[in-house]
C-alpha cells in the first residue's frame, strides 16, 4: 500500500516526533508513505471565503501531485488534513472556484478534487484496519486510561471532513482500544483549545485548554492524546498536569518500535 504523504511545516520542526513515529509505524504496518516533493505549507487555517484562491494553491498542488501518481494523500497533522480536505471539497463542489484555481495554475491538466484524502487515523481504520493493527501490537498499553482529544480540526465541518460523527466520534477511542488501552470519553473532547488565539489572547487559550484537561481528568484519564501540534502546545503550555502526547507515539510504543525511532 502506497500513499503520497504531506508532513507539513510543524512536523519538520517542533513536531518531528509526531512525524517520525508516524512514518516508522506505517512502515511496520506495511504502508509506504512517499513524501511529496517540494510540498508547501498548507497555511494552518482553511479560509472559507470563495474568493481566496492563492491561499489554497499549496493544497491543490499537493493534491494534484498525489493524483498524478494515482495515490491517495495522507497527512497526520490535524490542521494540514483539515485545510487539504476542505480545499479538495471546494474543488469538487464549487465549479466557479475550481475554474478560478485552474486558470490561475495554468497547467496542462485541470484538477477537480479527484484525489482521495486520508488522515493517518483513517488510513489506520479503513486501510490497515483496527483488527489487523491489533494483531501487530506486541506491547499492548494495558491499564492506561487515555482521553482522546479531537479538537476542532479533525471532525469539522462534519459533512466535509467525513471522518466520523462530529459530535460523537469513535475513531480515536477505537484506536486506543486497538493498542490495548482503555479510552476515556469526556464532553469537551471535540471542543476548541483556543488555537491561534494563544498569540493574541493567551488568557482565552488558557481558559479553553484548562476546560479540556480538567474535564478529561474528571472522567479519570491519566493521559491525553492528540494529532495536532497546536492543541498539544496549548494544553501543555497552560498547565496540563497529565501527559499530553501524540497518538503516533503510543502507536509506535504499542508496535514495539518506539526505541528504534529514538536511536
Amino acid at each position: 500500500m502506497k500513499f503520497s504523504y504531506f508532513p507539513g511545516c510543524t512536523l519538520k520542526n517542533k513536531a518531528k516526533d509526531l512525524d517520525m513515529y508516524a512514518r516508522k509505524s506505517a512502515e511496520a504496518l506495511g504502508v509506504c508513505l512517499e513524501e511529496i516533493e517540494n510540498w508547501q505549507c498548507c497555511g494552518g487555517v482553511f479560509t472559507t471565503s470563495r474568493d481566496e484562491v492563492a491561499t489554497k494553491l499549496s493544497s491543490v498542488r499537493a493534491l494534484k501531485d498525489a493524483g498524478s501518481k494515482g495515490q491517495g494523500l495522507v497527512s497526520v497533522c490535524s490542521a494540514c488534513h483539515n485545510v487539504i480536505k476542505q480545499t479538495n471539497h471546494a474543488m469538487q463542489t464549487d465549479k466557479e472556484f475550481a475554474d478560478k484555481v485552474n486558470r490561475y495554475m495554468a497547467e496542462d491538466t485541470d484538477y477537480n478534487g479527484e484525489t482521495a484524502v486520508y488522515h493517518y487515523l483513517e488510513m489506520l481504520r479503513d486501510v490497515v484496519g483496527y483488527d489487523a493493527l491489533k494483531e501487530k501490537v506486541t506491547n499492548p498499553l494495558k491499564g492506561k486510561k487515555i482521553a482522546a482529544y479531537y479538537g476542532c480540526l479533525l471532525l469539522r465541518p462534519g459533512t466535509v471532513m467525513g471522518m466520523d460523527d462530529p459530535e460523537n466520534p469513535t475513531i480515536m477511542e477505537d484506536f486506543i482500544k486497538a493498542i490495548g488501552a482503555t479510552p476515556v470519553v469526556y464532553a469537551n473532547r471535540n471542543e476548541c483549545c483556543g488555537g491561534y488565539i494563544a498569540m493574541e489572547s493567551p488568557e482565552l487559550a488558557k481558559k479553553r485548554s484548562n476546560a479540556i484537561v480538567d474535564n478529561a481528568k474528571a472522567q479519570g484519564a491519566d493521559m491525553i492524546i492528540t494529532a495536532c501540534p497546536l492543541c498539544k502546545y496549548n494544553l501543555i503550555k497552560n498547565g496540563a498536569d497529565i501527559p499530553v502526547v501524540y497518538f503516533t507515539e503510543l502507536l509506535a510504543e504499542a508496535l514495539g518500535i518506539k526505541e528504534e525511532v529514538n536511536e
Binding site: C9, K14, A15, T55, C192, K237
Partner: protein, 128 residues
C-alpha cells in the same frame, strides 16, 4: 462602497445565506470565544443580513473567532456564521495597511516550544 454592495460582496464571498437564520442563537451558545466578543455570532448574521456592516468592520470581535467551525457544524439552518465572520474580516484586513501583525511582532510571544503552526495560522488570519 455603499451598504447594499458591501452586503452582496460579503454574502457572495461567504457562500451562505443569512436570510435562512431562524434566530435560535445556537451559534452564540456554542461559541468558545463568546465571552470575548462585542458582537456575537448570531448578531453577525443579523447585521450582515440588514447591511449594518460598518460596526463589524471596526470591531475587535472579528479577530476573536477561533475558526473552530463549531457554529458551522451546529447551525440547524446551514447559515454557517463563521463563514460570514471570515468574509467580513477579509473586507477589513484587505485594506491597505490594515494587517494586524507583522513579523516584528513574532519574537515577543514565541517560546522554545511554539509550533510553526501557531505562527502560520496567526498570519493567515491576521494579515493579507
Amino acid at each position: 462602497m455603499n451598504k447594499k454592495n458591501l452586503r452582496e460582496e460579503i454574502v457572495l464571498r461567504a457562500g451562505v445565506n443569512p436570510k435562512k437564520c431562524m434566530k435560535c442563537g445556537k451559534c452564540s451558545g456554542t461559541c468558545p470565544a463568546y465571552d470575548e466578543m462585542e458582537y456575537h455570532p448570531h448578531q453577525f448574521v443579523n447585521m450582515v443580513d440588514t447591511g449594518d456592516i460598518e460596526p463589524l468592520l471596526n470591531s475587535e470581535s472579528l479577530y476573536k473567532c477561533l475558526t473552530c467551525f463549531a457554529c458551522v457544524e451546529r447551525c440547524p439552518r446551514g447559515v454557517e456564521p463563521a463563514k460570514l465572520i471570515e468574509a467580513v474580516r477579509l473586507s477589513a484586513i484587505r485594506k491597505q495597511g490594515a494587517n494586524r501583525m507583522t513579523p516584528n511582532d513574532v519574537p515577543a510571544f514565541v517560546d522554545e516550544d511554539t509550533p510553526q503552526q501557531l505562527l502560520v495560522s496567526a498570519f493567515r488570519k491576521y494579515t493579507k
